[in-house]
């Protein structure tokens, strides 16, 4: 074995070791790397009182109700639904049928009390006319695009 091949193996093995190390580390902290929990996660998670977390999903169509400063809506991942209440300014992209991430805690009555709401944007970019044409032809699904609606639910189950 020449010195060059030895160095090649050394570099390759070194990289492999570093990658394995980082991979193990990331899978160990995967729960914390994940930015938000879905409504289904929320049902299975054991939460302590007032534990802060982020809830992510789609704003259910027709669920947004305003009461003075407070906005109430339902976050869904198409399997489970969670009632959310929030008092504050909503981002521009907050819309029914759109992705949203709410930060706050689960009140004893099962309502998620958010003190911060972020809009989640999906990967679909199109001009307004195209979006309208899609809606008219019936190729439109909640959340923007045929690919986008099951997006959050599918991603949940695919998470290692």
């Amino acid at each position: 074995m020449t010195r060059k091949t030895r160095r090649l193996y050394f570099v390759a093995l070194g990289l492999l070791a570093v990658a394995a190390g980082v991979g193990l580390m990331l899978s160990a902290v995967s729960d914390n790397v994940t930015f938000f929990a879905s409504p289904s996660d929320l049902k299975t998670k054991s939460l302590t009182a007032n534990q802060r977390l982020r809830l992510g999903g789609l704003v259910e169509e027709g669920s947004v109700a305003r009461d003075g400063n407070t906005v109430k809506f339902i976050v869904t991942d198409t399997a489970e639904r969670v009632n959310v209440s929030y008092a504050g300014i909503l981002p521009d992209l907050f819309r029914e049928g759109q992705g949203v991430v709410a930060e706050g805690h689960l009140a004893p009555d099962g309502v998620f009390v958010a003190d911060d709401v972020l809009a989640k944007h999906d990967e679909n970019y199109m001009p307004r006319e195209v979006a309208e044409a899609l809606k008219e032809s019936g190729h439109w699904q909640e959340g923007g695009d045929p690919n986008a609606a099951p997006d959050i639910a599918v991603r949940e189950t695919a998470t290692p």
Binding site: R7, L15, Q98, L118, K120
Partner: protein, 245 residues
Amino acid sequence: MHKYANPTRFMKIANTVMPWTTAIAVICFVIGLPVALYTSPPDYQQGDTVRIMYIHVPAAWLALMAYMVTAGGSAVFLIWRHTIAHVIARASAPVGAVFCALCLFTGMLWGKPMWGTPWVWDARLTSMLILLFLYLGYIALGDAFDDQERGDKAQAVLALVGSVNVPIIHFSVEWWNTLHQPSIVTMQGLTINAQMALPLLLMVGAFQCFYISVVVIRLRAELLSAKIRVARQNLAASGVPVAAE
């Protein structure tokens, strides 16, 4: 492949390529920028804010590509000891760092009105910030050693270790829930409308060609300064007094 480890031979190719990449970069910018910023349609959700994407996405891709060049060059340098590979790695890093910073900055400009916050510590944003720190660390480490040879090796090792971050950045939006959207390039094709994909591709072409041209200019400067260093050493060895650098 080892034939091109010779700096003179390599620069001959680089110098031939460079006018072409410069020309393509200029053409792509001249057509792409007005299309991206004025004539392309506003997005159905984001309105005109979508135009930030035409800078943000090419900058992000370039930041990743420049890092892969740095890491690849470092691997070739460590294994085959080709100095030119290390010079390329060093030339690429500051360019990549600038575009990485541009990507983070434009992302924050977009995030404030769209998400409602300029910054969150989700997997994509955090790993991209780590890439910027890797770049800065790499650049700083190269000049931190008195012994140039040891500095070169340390730098190359850092670049290689940091390369683990590249797939993490790419797959972060698939492996974990992130606030950042998933990639617009999927196995099924682009999730972006053709009218918007065109200016995006033009801008990507412009950025990539600009990068190649800048790296070639930096290579020329680096090789010239190496020549001057050797000439000075030879002069000093022959006993002629030389002015300090």
